[in-house]
């Protein structure tokens, strides 16, 4: 049964892929709408979701010790000592991920049916989306590192395909390329880390690695430096996939892809695979204090750094992208201080509210006719009520106000950063400041988008449906978008296929936090078999401090929101303030000039070296040799051609000569 979880999306991919490649791709083929491919893909992933739920319930009925389901599919590689089985294994950690992937995935697939309704090639889009789900599920369900790596590469490929989905636009194609290359750098680290593990542990299966990690004598025999190196190499892989410093640069650019893709891949699932890897191998990471330290510091820095950039971005998706980078930083901060459970918790809540916000942003973009600049929005609360309300929930959740989901997970992380044996006060300060900035830029974006007065000229968008959109969105959603592509109309609410996922995700964002309420955390208990719980005694502060800190961070968030609200209510004042800090603002708007630095420090030298190699080696040596071969064979051919007279008798003379020579050879010593 287990195998059907990844198989169903694969089947969906096969159907849509073949349908697209063999039928829709042909010139003159009838243009297929998004509905049928979308339904195929959605049903496939929904089926996977149902099986995931069933698996989850199965696991729930098991005792904590043996809480896993395994299915061996076939023997993959058997070389020497290496015996790799293609096997799926779902335990308490991966079942959470499969639930999130298939659950959020289903909602996003459903949403895409509406969102991609005007697209030229929806079949291709849904095929890629399903392929992504397949790869992601393999990643979290694989029983060994190579299978995880298979999924790891698969999601990278799908991410590349989907970022560059509208590849006719050079910028978008470039963004896809950037993501792929940045990921390759990380993947190399992962691969090397995997080799290290095989060298020292002699196995790549998670269960066996965990068993070995539990044996003190075995661990003592491995040099600490090797363990640190392994962890750091694996972490390099995570910085690529999960967009941490220094490889985070691809994620903001990845927003070139369709918005559902940004929600699914670049917010909810793929980018969290680094967290999954770290929590899966938490026993290994916990052995190396240096690696933990590095992870916490990198995570904290990324969280802070990305938040600063997000403040100055005007593109709604860019703000969300940097926010994602920042939140991922939080998760690594959690893992770095040993609070893997908190990291996973944040993965789940973040998946809910960030997917919600991305989909909300997509709805806004859809309703605004591809406008992404928040400075040109405003006042959308009246035009798009459902989007507004759901986005509001997402906003409150990410700002960390109780009792929304973001509050619980974020405070869990902050508390661990403060009090865990691996943590420090400084990390808490970084986290708290980041939380304040998060509240600030999210409020800014929320206010500029939905509150205030409209700053767009609706007459330019048509405006015929002005009043219609304002009070009759349900009706509007009902009759769909048949006329949308041709007759321009005003800002409007999105169709039901798009708003239903928003509502569901909003509900999840509200209640999602209750699985991890401090001190009665269901999550912690659930993850016990995979992630050993903290011993409270090792914490450097008591409960009183914990509640105090909770209050402090809530206060910080509220203050920050209020400050942002006040600032952007008066836009003139806001822009005057911007002018006063023009230099800082410009730096932030240009993302600390990191892209430019990479360009001149890494890309340009490589480019120049490649040009030199091309001119001096490729053209001068290799091409000449290859062309030389061509010329020699051409010349030989020309020479041999003259022998082909077409006269049988001349051929017969050749036979005669050959006969004479060979017979002469045979009888020479007679």
């Amino acid at each position: 049964m287990l195998k059907w979880i990844p198989l169903l999306p694969l089947i969906g991919f096969t159907i849509n892929g073949f349908w697209y490649a063999l039928i829709q791709c042909r010139p003159g083929a009838k243009k297929a709408g998004a509905t049928i491919p979308g339904l195929i893909a959605t049903l496939a992933i929904f089926g996977a979701f149902l099986i995931s739920v069933k698996t989850f319930l199965e696991l729930k009925g098991m005792p904590a010790e043996g809480r896993f389901v395994e299915q061996h599919l076939f023997n993959w590689i058997h070389v020497g000592d290496l015996d790799l089985k293609m096997a799926l294994r779902v335990d308490s950690l991966s079942t959470l991920f499969t639930l999130v992937i298939t659950g959020v995935g289903t909602l996003i697939h459903l949403y895409s049916i509406g969102y991609m309704s005007h697209d030229a090639t929806p079949g291709k889009f849904f095929a890629y989306l399903n392929l992504f789900c397949f790869a992601m599920l393999m990643l979290v369900m694989g029983s060994s590192l190579p299978i995880l790596f298979l999924g790891w590469e698969g999601v990278g490929l799908c991410s590349y395909l989907l970022i560059g989905y509208w590849y006719e636009d050079l910028e978008k194609a470039k963004a896809g390329k950037k993501a792929f290359i940045a990921n390759r750098v990380g993947d190399l680290g992962f691969l090397l880390g995997m080799f290290m593990i095989y060298t020292h542990f002699g196995t790549l299966e998670f269960t066996k690695i965990t068993e070995l990690l539990a044996r003190g004598d075995f661990i003592a025999a491995i040099s600490p430096a090797a363990i640190t190196a392994t962890c750091l190499l694996l972490f390099v892989g995570c910085t690529g996939k999960s967009a941490q410093i220094p490889l985070y640069v691809w994620l903001p650019d990845a927003m070139a892809g369709p918005t559902p893709v940004s929600a699914l891949i670049h917010a909810a699932t793929m980018v969290t695979s680094g967290i999954y890897l770290v929590s899966r191998l938490n026993g290994l990471f916990s052995l190396s204090h240096t690696a933990m330290m590095t992870m916490a510091v990198i995570g904290g820095l990324t969280a802070f750094f990305a938040a600063t950039i997000a403040i100055a971005q005007n593109d709604i998706k860019k703000v969300l992208a940097y926010s994602t980078v920042s939140q991922l930083g939080y998760m690594f901060l959690a893992c770095g201080v040993g609070a893997y459970t908190a990291g996973v918790f944040h993965v789940i809540t973040h998946a809910f509210f960030k997917a919600l916000m991305f989909l909300g942003a997509g709805s806004v973009i859809h309703g605004m006719h591809e406008e992404q600049d928040i400075l040109k929005m405003g006042g959308l609360r009246l035009k798009m009520p459902v989007t507004f309300v759901t986005f509001l929930v997402g906003w409150v959740a990410i700002c960390g106000l109780p009792p929304f989901s973001g509050f619980f997970s974020k405070d869990e992380i902050l508390w661990n950063a403060f009090a865990s044996p691996h943590g420090s006060k400084l990390l808490w300060v970084v986290g708290a400041v980041t939380a304040a900035m998060t509240a600030f830029y999210m409020t800014r974006m929320f206010y500029l988008t939905f509150m205030g007065k409209p700053r767009f000229d609706e007459s330019k968008m048509g405006g015929a449906h002005d009043s219609h959109a304002a009070h009759g969105h349900d009706d509007h959603a009902g009759h769909g978008h048949a006329d949308h592509g041709h007759a321009p109309q005003g800002v409007h609410e999105s169709p039901a296929t798009m708003t239903i996922p928003l509502v569901v995700l909003a509900i999840l964002s509200i209640v999602g936090g209750f699985i991890g309420i401090p001190h009665m955390s269901w999550l912690e208990e659930w993850l016990e078999p995979v992630i050993p719980a903290h011993d409270p005694a090792t914490f450097t502060a008591g409960h009183t401090t914990e509640y105090l800190l909770m209050g402090v961070s809530t206060l910080i968030a509220i203050l920050s929101i209020a400050y942002a609200w006040k600032t952007y209510t008066n836009l003139k004042e806001a822009s005057a303030r911007k002018a006063r800090h023009a230099k800082l603002h410009e730096t932030l708007e240009h993302k600390w000039y990191v892209d430019e630095a990479y360009e001149s420090a890494v890309i340009q030298p490589i480019y120049e070296m490649s040009v030199k190699l091309w001119k001096n080696v490729d053209v001068a040596v290799i091409d000449r040799v290859v062309l030389g071969f061509g010329r020699v064979s051409e010349w030989t051919g020309q020479a041999a051609r003259t022998a082909q007279t077409g006269s049988i008798q001349v051929y017969a003379v050749m036979i005669l000569i050959g006969l004479a020579l060979s017979l002469g050879y045979l009888v020479r010593g007679f």
Partner: protein, 179 residues
Amino acid sequence: MDISPVGFYLFAGVAIACSLLVVFKKSPVSSAFSLILVFAAFAGIYANLAAHLVAALQVLVYAGAIMVLFIFVIMLLSADEPSFDMGRSHPLVKALVGFFCVALFVMFVWALKKSDHGQVLVGPYSVAAVAASGGNSKVVSQLMFTRYILPFELTSILLLAGIVGAIALAKRNLGKEGK
């Protein structure tokens, strides 16, 4: 070899002379008639070698049927224009052909002479034995219908295919002209 030298050399001389004529005569008809003489001379040699049935067939099939066919085709196509077409061959081709033919011939003669050890590994069909069991024709016929029955039957299929092929070739062209 117990054959009369006089008969052999006589027939051999005629055969060599006439086969040279086949090659060098300008007119195809002359070549064809020379070829008949070659076949006749061969028949003589066969008879000399006590292969009486082969000799008879040589005359019947070669000198009779096949040569009639040749003459008939020459007449049919009116292709009897004398032309010494050998002259058109490239001198190099002629030189190569001449050289290698002579070289191979010399090689053959040398090898044959060297490897000639008289009667070795003789079989049961000496001339006397064949004569005693009813003559060459009888022995050959018996063998043909016993030991060689399978190739014999196969030749009948081959001949059938030849007949069908010849008719198909001729008939298609007639049909074309009819249109």
